[in-house]
C-alpha cells in the first residue's frame, strides 16, 4: 500500500477532526447531494435496473468463481495480440515491474490515466524514488497532485476542494510542473478547465510512456477498457509509444456480452450519465496506430486472499462507481481522508481491511465506520451487501477466526484493545439469557432512578457529551404485565 497512507490514525480519531472542518463539510455536502440526486434520476430511467443489477452481480460472481481460467484466457489473448503480461503478487512487485519497464524505454517522464490500482500500490511515489516523474492527467487527480494532497473520493478525488481553492493551487503550483497558470486566472469552471487543458496538452504531446489502469478486461479477446469523461485518458492511451496498464485481477469479464451489462451500470451509477463521453478499448498493439509496446501488469495485492472468504469476496465485484460514497452519511461528514486509503467510504471500509488485513489500528477501525444504515447496499450496482460484510469483518476484529493471508490459511487472534468490550458483551449476553437476572437489574435501576447522573463518566461520555440520557421508568414492561395481567410469578420467571 502507498507509503502516503502509512501511520494514519484510526477512523474515529481522524473523523473527529474532519467532521469539525466546516469548509470540508460544506464542499462534501454540496457535491455528494448533487450527484446523489442525479444518479437517482439516471437510474430511475431504466425499467430493468433491478435485472441489470442482478446480472452484474451474477457475471462478477461467475467470473470470480473461475478466475484462474479467465485470467489465463486473458493472458493468452493479450500475448496473441502483441502485448506482454506480467503478474504482480503485491504492490512492491508491481512497482518494481513498472519501474523496470519505464527504465527500459530510457524515459524519465510518464503521463497517467486516472487509476485506482496505481493509487493503491503507490506507483507515483515508487517512480519518483527511481527518478521518474509521473504526471496525473485527470483534472481532479491533477488538482490533488499539484496540491501535494491525497485523493478523498474514488471518482472525484478532489471533491474536498472548492473552485477557489483549486484556482489557488493552480496559480501556486502549475509553474513548477510545466506550463504555468494563465495570468489573472479566475475560479470559473471554464477558466479552470482551460488552464488545465493548456498545462496538460504539453504533457500529452511530449510523453513517450503512458500508464493506465482499466475498468474492465475482456478475457475472450484480451481487450482492455477505460471509461472516462474528460478525454485525457484517450490521449494517454493513444499518443505514447509505450503503454503500461496496471489492473487488479478482479477486473476481468469473460466476454463482450458480459461487458455490455457493466457499460450500462457504471456510468449511471458513477457520473449519473446514460453513457460516459469516452470509452477507450484496445487489444494488444496495432502496427502504425497507437502505442507500439503494450504491457499488462496483473495485480493481486490481497485479492486472492479476499476471494478465499465466502462472505467478504463479494467486495471484489466492485466496479469503483462511487455510488456508495455519495449516499453514505458517514462519508459525507467524515470525508475521504479519514479512511486512510485510496478507497474511502463504505466500499473502502470493507475493501481495505480485506486487502491489507485487520492487524493495524486503522484497518481494525474501518468496519465500525458505519451506522449500518444500508444506503450503500441499496445503490450498489453489483449488489454488494456492504452492511453484511462490515458485520462479518467486525467479528474478525473482535473474535478473530480463520483468514487467508498471503495465500495461506491461518487462524487470527482477536484484536487487542477490545477486552473490556468483549467482557461487557459476554456479560450482557449472559444476562439476556437469564431473564430473572435481567429483571432484578431493571428493578434496581428503577429504584435508583432519581440518583442517575445526567452525564456519564468513562466510555459513556461518548454518548452523554452530545445527548441526554433516557429517563429510567418506575416500572419495566415485564413488571407491568405481571402486575396487571395477574399471571403467577413462577410463570413469569422464564427458563433460567
Amino acid at each position: 500500500m502507498s507509503g502516503a497512507y502509512l501511520g494514519m490514525p484510526a477512523f474515529p480519531r481522524a473523523a473527529a477532526v474532519s467532521t469539525r472542518d466546516t469548509r470540508l463539510r460544506a464542499n462534501l455536502t454540496h457535491a455528494t447531494r448533487t450527484i446523489r440526486d442525479k444518479r437517482a434520476a439516471a437510474v430511475a430511467e431504466l425499467d430493468d435496473w433491478a435485472q441489470l443489477r442482478a446480472a452484474g452481480a451474477a457475471v462478477k460472481d461467475r467470473t470470480l468463481r473461475h478466475l484462474d481460467h479467465y485470467l489465463e484466457q486473458l493472458e493468452a489473448a493479450v500475448v496473441a495480440a502483441g502485448g506482454q503480461v506480467h503478474w504482480a503478487v503485491d504492490a512492491d512487485e508491481a512497482n518494481r515491474i513498472v519501474t523496470r519497464l519505464v527504465r527500459e524505454t530510457g524515459e524519465t517522464e510518464v503521463v497517467k490515466v486516472k487509476s485506482m490500482a496505481t493509487q493503491e500500490i503507490g506507483l507515483n511515489e515508487a517512480l519518483a524514488e527511481a527518478g521518474i516523474r509521473a504526471y496525473e492527467t485527470d483534472l481532479a487527480e491533477l488538482i490533488v497532485q499539484l496540491g501535494r494532497d491525497l485523493p478523498s473520493h474514488i471518482l472525484v478525488p478532489a471533491i474536498h476542494r472548492n473552485r477557489s481553492e483549486i484556482r489557488d493551487i493552480f496559480r501556486r503550483e502549475m509553474a513548477s510542473w510545466g506550463r504555468p497558470a494563465p495570468e489573472g486566472l479566475a475560479d470559473s469552471p471554464a477558466e479552470l478547465a482551460e488552464a488545465a487543458r493548456l498545462h496538460l496538452r504539453e504533457k500529452f504531446l511530449s510523453a513517450k510512456v503512458g500508464i493506465s489502469g482499466a475498468n474492465f478486461m475482456v478475457a475472450e479477446t484480451g481487450t482492455l477498457v477505460v471509461v472516462e469523461s474528460e478525454g485525457n485518458g484517450r490521449m494517454c492511451l493513444t499518443l505514447p509509444e509505450t503503454l503500461i496498464s496496471v489492473v487488479g485481477i478482479e477486473k476481468v469479464v469473460p466476454d463482450w456480452q458480459d461487458l455490455e451489462v457493466f457499460l450500462q451500470l457504471l456510468p449511471r451509477s458513477s457520473t449519473a450519465e446514460r453513457m460516459n463521453p469516452y470509452t477507450s478499448m484496445w487489444t494488444g498493439t496495432t502496427d502504425g496506430d497507437g502505442p507500439q509496446a503494450f504491457h499488462l501488469v496483473l495485480l493481486d495485492n490481497g485479492r486472492t486472499d479476499t476471494l478465499a472468504d465466502t462472505v467478504g469476496r463479494q467486495a471484489l465485484r466492485c466496479i469503483r462507481c462511487s455510488a456508495c460514497l455519495n449516499v453514505c452519511p458517514v462519508y459525507e461528514r467524515a470525508g475521504g481522508h479519514a479512511y486512510g486509503s485510496p478507497y474511502p467510504g463504505p466500499i473502502g471500509a470493507i475493501l481495505t481491511p480485506q486487502l491489507r488485513g485487520v492487524a493495524g489500528a486503522l484497518e481494525a477501525s474501518l468496519p465500525y465506520a458505519s451506522s449500518l444504515c444500508g444506503a450503500c447496499y441499496e445503490v450498489c450496482p453489483v449488489a454488494i451487501d456492504i452492511p453484511e460484510v462490515l458485520v462479518h469483518l467486525r467479528e474478525r476484529v473482535v473474535e478473530g477466526g480463520p483468514v487467508t493471508r498471503g495465500g495461506t490459511r491461518t487462524v487470527l487472534k482477536p484484536a487487542k484493545g477490545h477486552a473490556a468490550e468483549r467482557a461487557a458483551m459476554r456479560a450482557a449476553g449472559w444476562a439476556f439469557d437469564h431473564p430473572g437476572v435481567l429483571r432484578a437489574g431493571m428493578r434496581l435501576a428503577a429504584r435508583t432512578r432519581r440518583l442517575h447522573p445526567r452525564r456519564l463518566p468513562g466510555p459513556g461520555r461518548a454518548w452523554s457529551r452530545t445527548r441526554d440520557l433516557p429517563a429510567v421508568p418506575a416500572e419495566s414492561f415485564r413488571d407491568w404485565w405481571q402486575r396487571t395481567r395477574g399471571a403467577s410469578p413462577e410463570q413469569q420467571g422464564g427458563a433460567e
Binding site: C373, E399, M425
Partner: protein, 250 residues
C-alpha cells in the same frame, strides 16, 4: 386471533409505555396478546458489534419463547430485521463451522412469524384506520432498518394519515440515517453526533410537536439530541400514537 408480543429489551427496560401501547392497540383491534416471559433480547447489539457467538443462545431463546405462536409482533423495526435477516445467517454460519445443532432450524422457524407492528397491522390485520386520535402535528422519521431491511415502505405513513386530528409534516432528508447505529453512537461519537444534529435540524424545520418512528432505539438518540438542545419536540413511538384515542392519555 392470538399473537405474541416481542417487546424487545430496550422497550422492556426503558420504554414500557410503548409495550403497553401495543397491547392497548392490538386488544382494541380484537387481537389477543400474550407476553411469553421467557423472551429477552434479540441479540442485535452483540451481533452488529461482531460478537456473533454471543447471540446464539438468544436465537435459541427466541425459538423457545415463541415456538407456539404463528405471529410474533414487535414495536421495533431493527429487532424484527435482526430476526428476519440475521438469524438465518447465524444458523448458517454455525452449521458451516460444524456446530450449533438445531440453530438453523430455530432461525428458520423464527423468520416467517416475525412481524414489525405496522407491517402486522397493514399486511395481516389489513387495517389502516386503527381508530386512533392524536391532535398534534407530527413528523415521521423512517428508520433505516425498517426502510431498507424490512421494506416497510409507506405503511407507517398510511396508518398515521388515518389518525384523527393528526397533522403530518413531511421531514426533509427523511431517508437519511439519524446517526444512532447501535454501538456506532459511542464508537464514532463525532460522526454520530454530526448526523444527529442534521436530523434534529430537519425535524425542527418541520415545526412539528412530535417526531415518531417505528424504533425507540433511534428515538433514544434523536430524543437525546433534541433534549440536549432544549428543544420542545417530543420523541414518540408510532405505537403510542396509534394507541391513543379521544380522551385517552398515552
Amino acid at each position: 386471533m392470538r399473537v405474541a408480543l416481542f417487546v424487545t429489551c430496550i422497550n422492556d427496560a426503558l420504554h414500557p409505555r410503548t409495550g403497553r401501547a401495543v397491547v392497548t392497540l392490538l386488544e382494541r383491534l380484537g387481537v389477543e396478546v400474550d407476553f411469553p416471559a421467557e423472551q429477552s433480547c434479540c441479540g442485535q447489539p452483540q451481533f452488529n458489534t461482531g460478537y456473533r457467538h454471543a447471540t446464539e443462545p438468544l436465537v435459541r431463546r427466541f425459538d423457545r419463547a415463541f415456538r407456539d405462536y404463528e405471529y410474533v409482533v414487535t414495536p421495533s423495526g431493527s429487532c424484527a430485521a435482526m430476526v428476519r435477516d440475521n438469524y438465518p445467517r447465524i444458523g448458517a454460519k454455525a452449521a458451516a463451522e460444524g456446530r450449533g445443532r438445531g440453530l438453523a432450524d430455530a432461525a428458520a422457524l423464527a423468520v416467517p412469524k416475525m412481524y414489525e407492528l405496522t407491517e402486522f397491522l397493514v399486511d395481516v390485520l389489513k387495517v389502516e384506520d386503527v381508530g386512533a386520535s392524536y391532535p398534534h402535528t407530527v413528523t415521521y422519521h423512517p428508520t433505516c432498518h425498517g426502510l431498507r431491511m424490512l421494506g416497510l415502505g409507506d405503511r407507517p405513513l398510511r396508518l398515521l394519515r388515518h389518525v384523527r386530528g393528526l397533522r403530518l409534516r413531511e421531514l426533509p432528508g427523511a431517508e437519511e440515517c439519524c446517526g444512532f447505529g447501535g454501538t456506532f453512537a459511542v464508537k464514532n461519537p463525532a460522526v454520530s453526533a454530526a448526523m444527529g444534529d442534521d436530523k434534529v435540524r430537519h425535524i425542527l424545520s418541520t415545526g412539528a410537536e412530535a417526531v415518531c418512528t417505528v424504533d425507540n432505539s433511534c428515538l433514544l438518540h434523536i430524543g437525546g439530541t433534541l433534549g440536549r438542545r432544549g428543544a420542545a419536540v417530543r420523541p414518540v413511538h408510532i405505537a403510542e400514537i396509534l394507541a391513543s384515542t379521544e380522551g385517552s392519555v398515552q
